[in-house]
Amino acid sequence: MKLLTCIVRPNALDNVKEGLSALGLTGMTVSEVKGFGRQKGHREVYRGAEYNIDFTPKLKIEVVVSDSMVEQAISAVKEASNTGSIGDGKIFVLSVDEVVRIRTGETGDSAI
């Protein structure tokens, strides 16, 4: 099992969700986050005071998939959030030791 941590543009959420749902994936966790990478921050102006805001708003989408689904899921996220411009985000893939469904106690792939 793998955990995909996807940092994407906020407006990519619907596309990513639809792409992953089309693969039959049934769950994900979404957080509003801020950060920076190659895409630098932006400028905000309040009553003439200009601020360079280093941290750009992004979404962090976390989804756990079985090993057989990893490549398809990565492709789906890439396809859904790629605009070709700097700032499209990243996907981190991590190994997951165990998953437990709290209600039933199921573990492993059947708990995803």
Partner: protein, 452 residues
Amino acid sequence: MMEPTSKPSVRLARSRQAIMAIALLTVLALPGAALADELNSGDTAWMLTSTVLVLFMTIPGLSLFYGGLVRAKNVLSVLMQCFALTGIMTLVWVLWGYSLAFDTQGMTAGVTNLSSFVGGLSLAFMAGVGVDSMAGTIPETVFATFQMTFAIITPALIVGSFAERMKFSAMIVFMVIWSTVVYSPICHMAWSGAGSFFGDMGVLDFAGGTVVHINAGIAALVAAIMIGKRKGYPERPIPPHNLTLTVVGASMLWVGWFGFNAGSALAADGAAGMAMLVTQVASATAAVTWMLVEWIKHGKPSVLGMATGAVAGLVAITPASGFVGPMGAIAIGVASGILCFWGATTLKHQLGVDDSLDAFGVHGIGGIVGALLTGVFVASGLGGQGLAEGMTIGGQVWVQLVGVLFTVIYCAVASFIILKIVDATIGLRVTEEEEDRGLDISLHNEQGYYSA
């Protein structure tokens, strides 16, 4: 025989002394019996409404306007300061503030004595103010409560300059003394009628450009200097945490301001109607002006800019609202939009002062612009209600300037001394750790926003 400028002087009317001061330099003293104030239910209904509108300006209008501009960790502290001032200033006003402002004993038209500067204590604890007491054509209870809402919002305006770093206890003590020593006397000098210092001089201040806005703006500037900058300012960004609140608050201020200005006619009459029209025109003009200036200077128009411009226009039209016409209001709107923009974005940085929410830049500058331009656009040739007989525009502007300078100097010196005393006894500023944690938790054991 009365020139049109006599209308606003309804504000000066005080039946208690059976003296009706009519307009600027023209004073008629009538025997009590002849005055025989009759209650006008139309006037009274409008003044009850105006009173509520002006209270609505402070809570929730100004509270939200300011609350949105601070960081999330300080939002409650600002709301608390405004709410607490509403409560405390109400008590100060009925106990002694109203008397210091509107007790007219010892005043004689054309005579400058101590009573020209501050009232006595004959009305303290609202002595003698009953159901049948009259102030002009409205009950004195309504007049006193209407004036009370001005005494509430003026200190609350000052809050903007020292937001996010002042001790709550120090703020309370400062404001109680300031209201007593600065607000009530300036209010008395401007509005207590024949024999008052500004009144006899011929200073035009319809709804409080000098009494409310210059007074608050200057006290704000002095307070911001004395309490020092917020930690991190100006190197670190301190952006507003919720401009939605701020715009809602500014909108409430705009609505409430009709009570402030049109209510200052103290009657439901033509002067109130004109005050309403010019208030709307000046505010709208200043909002659009600020928007355009910002668009040109910074590339994009901002909603914070437009809301701030609207408030700047409202401030500037305040002293003029009973005296100028709609075209004068446009001129005042343009001037205040440009000059308050300069005050909040350029002058503030040149002064090196952390006037956190631009209380001086908007209310101080806007108040001065409005007070001076009132002297220009009151002229009937410029669409105003007309200068006093024998008065020139230059002469009236000079009188306005003297009123402004007196207020600036008196308010600055008095505020400085009060703040020094409070600093030496209580201390003005929270600790660095309290400032870091935010005043909501540090001073009030609460948070404005809980995530779960």
